[in-house]
C-alpha cells in the first residue's frame, strides 16, 4: 500500500519554511463540469491554490486513482477543519476516460467524497479531441487498452500524478504515488496561502 494511506512516517517541514518554485504554467483546455456544462479547465484553476488530480472512476488499482481521491478527501478534511483555509483552496478531480466518465458518472463519483461546503470540482471531457491536448500539456500520458478487434476496452495505464497549482495558475509541485500524502499536500497548500 502506498504511503498516502498510512500516517506520515516523518515530520514534514513547516508551511512557509521552504520554497515551491514554479514549474511552468498549468495547461488549459475544454472540459465538461459535473453538470455537463462546457467550460475551460482554467475556469477551475487560479484565484486560489488548487490541487488537481487525473483519475478515472473505474480505476481499480488501489495505489492509482483511488489513492489520489483518498488523499484529496483527506486534504479536504484537513483544510476544511481550519477556518483560515476552509474556503481558500480548491480540489479538482479530472477524468481522462471520457467514454465511461460522463458528467453524470463523475457527479455521482464526486458525491461520495466532497463535502457540501468545500470547493471540490469533478470534471471530464467530451472526447479524446478535448482530452488529449490537456493530457499532453500536463505530461500525463496514458496507454489505452484495445481488444483484438481494435475496440477500446475501457481500461488504461498511466503514471499517477497530482499537481499543486497556485492562484496564478503556475504548477508549484507534482506528486506521484510515493510522494502523495495528505499532510504534505495540505502543508504545501498552506505554504502557498502564506505567500498571499
Amino acid at each position: 500500500m502506498a504511503p498516502g494511506y498510512a500516517p506520515l512516517s516523518f515530520t514534514p517541514p513547516e508551511p512557509g519554511t521552504y520554497g515551491l518554485p514554479a514549474m511552468g504554467v498549468a495547461g488549459d483546455g475544454q472540459v465538461l463540469d459535473s453538470q455537463g456544462r462546457a467550460t475551460n479547465l482554467h475556469d477551475y484553476l487560479g484565484t486560489k491554490p488548487t490541487v488537481l488530480s487525473f483519475i478515472f472512476t473505474t480505476c481499480d488499482d488501489v495505489n492509482g486513482c483511488p489513492l489520489a481521491t483518498y488523499v484529496m478527501r483527506s486534504v479536504q478534511d484537513a483544510l476544511q477543519a481550519d477556518p483560515d483555509t476552509a474556503d481558500k483552496a480548491r480540489l479538482v478531480s479530472f477524468s481522462f476516460d471520457p467514454v465511461f466518465d460522463t458528467p453524470d458518472v463523475i457527479d455521482a463519483y464526486g458525491s461520495q467524497f466532497r463535502t457540501d461546503n468545500f470547493d471540490w470540482q469533478f470534471l471530464t471531457t467530451s472526447g479524446p479531441e478535448s482530452l488529449d491536448p490537456i493530457l499532453s500539456a500536463y505530461g500525463q500520458w496514458v496507454i489505452r487498452d484495445y481488444d483484438d478487434n481494435g475496440d477500446y476496452t475501457g481500461t488504461m495505464s498511466h503514471i499517477l500524478r497530482v499537481f499543486l497549482i497556485d492562484k496564478n495558475r503556475n504548477i508549484r509541485n507534482i506528486y506521484s504515488t510515493s510522494f502523495l500524502h495528505a499532510d504534505t499536500v495540505a502543508n504545501d497548500v498552506r505554504s502557498l496561502l502564506m505567500e498571499q
Binding site: 517541514p13 521552504y18 514549474m23 495505489n63 505530461g139 495505464s157 498511466h158 503514471i159 506521484s176 510522494f179
Partner: protein, 451 residues
C-alpha cells in the same frame, strides 16, 4: 493470448505507478521499472579521437535474447562533438533519457519512447551554467515526480569542487538550483564531523523517510586533468570530497553533513520498506560505507567493509544493489574487478565473490531479477588507459549471466573495434513500457512497494 496477458500485467504495473527501478536496481524510486527481460541497453558513450567519428554517442544494444539482432549494436546517435559524456538517467515516466557532458555542461534529452529501438534527440540544454548560477559539470540525472534533479561536480568561479544541484521539468525547463552546504554557509545543516566541503556527485532519495542523500567527488580542475599528473600533484589530491549530506527531500534543504572521507561516489539505497539505509564507496580509501538512520532517528555514516587492498588503490567506482537488498556489486576500476558483497547485515558486509571483468571496468548494471549483469569500461577521458596491458580489452560492453554463484560471460562488444568510443552509463529500455511488445518476448514491468 500470451501477449495480451503479459501486457495486462504491464498495465497493472504502470497503474501502480510506484516507483522504483534499479539499473534496474539503481535508479529513482519514483520510476516504473522493468522486472522482466529488458529489450535494450542505452549506453552513453564518450567519443575518442581516432575511433570512428570521434563524437560522443548514445549507443543502443539489443539485449533481448529472442531478437534476431541480440547482442549487437542496433543504433548509434552521434552528438556532433565530445562533451565528456558520463552519466545519464531516465525521467519518472521513462519517456526521456537525460545524458550530460561534464566538460561542455550540455545536457542531451533523448526521446526513448517514440521508438525505443532508435532513440532520437529531443532537446539540448546548453545554458546549464548560467541558469544554475554557476554550477558546472552536470552529473547525475535523477527522476523526481515530473522533474529531474541534476547534481553538479564543480563551479564556474574556480572550477573546484564546490557545487550545487539543479531541478528541471521533464520537458527540460529550468526550475531552481541549490548549492551544497559549506563551512561558510551551512544553510541550517548540522556539521557532524570535520568537513563541510560543498562538493557533489551522486544523489538518491528515500521518500518514505523524506531523505535525499548526496555524495562528493572533485571539481573540473581534477576530473579534466590527466590522471597521472593529478596523482602526482599533492595539492590536487587534497581537493576531493569527504562528505555525504542528508537533505530534507520535501524542502530541499540540507539537514546534516556526515564525514565520509575519500571521495564517496555512487549512492544506492535499500529497497525494503523498513530499510532506512544506503551504501556508498570511497574511491580513494577503498571502503564500503553505510549511511543509515539509527534507532534514535539520527542519520549516521560508518565504514563497514574494505574493498581489496586500499594501499594498491583499486579505485571503487560503480556499485549496484540487488532488488532484495541482499547483495552489492562493487567495481574497482584500477584492477578491473567486480566484487560481490553479502549485505544482508548492512552493518557487516561480507565479500562472497571476486571476478576479473576487464581493464578499467567502471559501470555495473543488473537486471531486476538479478540474472543479468552488464559492465562497461571507461571512467573519464583523461583518466582512462590508452593501451591495454594485454590483448585488446580496453573499452567494452559486456553481459554476464549470474546464477547466484558464478558469472558466465554471454557477450562482449569491443567499442573501439566497433568505432564507437568509451562506453559509460547504461540504462535499460523496453517496448512494453510504452504499450508495445517485442515480437517474441514482451518485457514484464512492475512497480514495487514504495519506500
Amino acid at each position: 493470448m500470451i501477449w495480451k496477458m503479459l501486457i495486462s500485467s504491464v498495465v497493472a504495473a504502470l497503474l501502480l505507478v510506484q516507483p522504483t527501478s534499479a539499473d534496474e536496481t539503481c535508479m529513482s524510486p519514483y520510476m516504473a521499472k522493468i522486472v522482466g527481460q529488458e529489450d535494450y541497453v542505452y549506453i552513453w558513450t564518450l567519443g575518442l579521437e581516432g575511433v570512428g567519428n570521434g563524437e560522443d554517442k548514445l549507443v543502443t544494444v539489443d539485449v533481448n535474447p529472442d531478437s534476431k539482432t541480440y547482442g549487437t549494436v542496433i543504433h548509434s546517435l552521434s552528438m556532433g562533438g565530445r562533451n565528456e559524456a558520463h552519466h545519464s538517467g531516465l525521467t519518472d515516466d521513462r519517456r526521456f533519457l537525460w545524458a550530460s557532458g561534464l566538460d561542455t555542461n550540455k545536457i542531451f534529452i533523448f526521446d526513448v519512447h517514440t521508438d525505443p529501438a532508435a532513440p532520437s534527440l529531443h532537446r539540448t540544454i546548453d545554458d546549464f551554467v548560467s541558469k544554475t548560477g554557476g554550477v558546472v559539470g552536470p552529473h547525475t540525472s535523477y527522476a523526481l515526480p515530473g522533474r529531474m534533479l541534476i547534481t553538479g561536480l564543480s563551479n564556474n568561479r574556480d572550477h573546484g569542487g564546490r557545487t550545487g544541484m539543479a531541478e528541471y521539468t521533464n520537458e527540460g525547463d529550468f526550475i531552481t538550483s541549490v548549492w551544497m552546504p559549506t563551512d561558510d554557509n551551512l544553510q541550517g545543516a548540522v556539521k557532524s564531523g570535520n568537513f563541510a566541503d560543498g562538493y557533489g556527485y551522486d544523489a538518491r532519495a528515500l521518500p518514505r523517510r523524506n531523505a535525499l542523500v548526496t555524495s562528493s567527488f572533485t571539481g573540473w580542475n581534477n576530473y579534466m586533468m590527466n590522471l597521472g599528473k593529478m596523482m602526482g600533484d599533492a595539492e590536487a589530491m587534497k581537493r576531493f570530497g569527504n562528505t555525504v549530506v542528508i537533505w530534507d527531500l520535501h524542502a530541499r534543504t540540507p539537514k546534516k553533513i556526515l564525514d565520509v572521507p575519500g571521495a564517496p561516489l555512487e549512492i544506492r539505497c535499500a529497497w525494503g520498506s523498513q530499510s532506512d539505509y544506503c551504501f556508498t564507496t570511497t574511491a580513494l580509501t577503498s571502503k564500503v560505507w553505510l549511511i543509515y538512520e539509527d534507532d534514535a532517528g539520527e542519520w549516521q555514516a560508518k565504514a563497514v567493509a574494505d574493498i581489496g587492498d586500499a594501499s594498491k588503490i583499486p579505485l571503487p567506482v560503480d556499485i549496484s544493489i540487488s532488488a532484495d537488498d541482499n547483495h552489492l556489486w562493487v567495481n574497482t576500476w584500477n584492477d578491473g574487478k567486480v566484487r560481490l558483497y553479502d549485505i544482508s547485515n548492512p552493518h557487516a558486509p561480507v565479500q562472497v565473490m571476486e571476478e576479473q571483468i576487464g581493464e578499467q571496468v567502471n559501470m555495473v548494471s543488473q537486471s531486476w531479477d538479478g540474472e543479468r549483469v552488464y559492465f562497461t569500461s571507461s571512467l573519464l577521458a583523461n583518466w582512462d588507459k590508452t593501451t591495454a596491458s594485454e590483448g585488446n580489452d580496453l573499452q567494452y560492453f559486456k553481459l554476464y549471466n549470474w546464477d547466484g554463484e558464478t558469472l558466465t560471460p554471454e557477450f562482449n562488444l569491443d567499442f573501439i573495434e566497433l568505432g564507437l568510443g568509451a562506453p559509460h552509463q547504461m540504462r535499460f529500455g523496453a517496448h512494453a513500457l510504452y504499450g508495445g511488445a517485442t515480437a517474441q518476448s514482451p518485457s514484464g514491468l512492475a512497480s514495487p512497494t514504495a519506500h
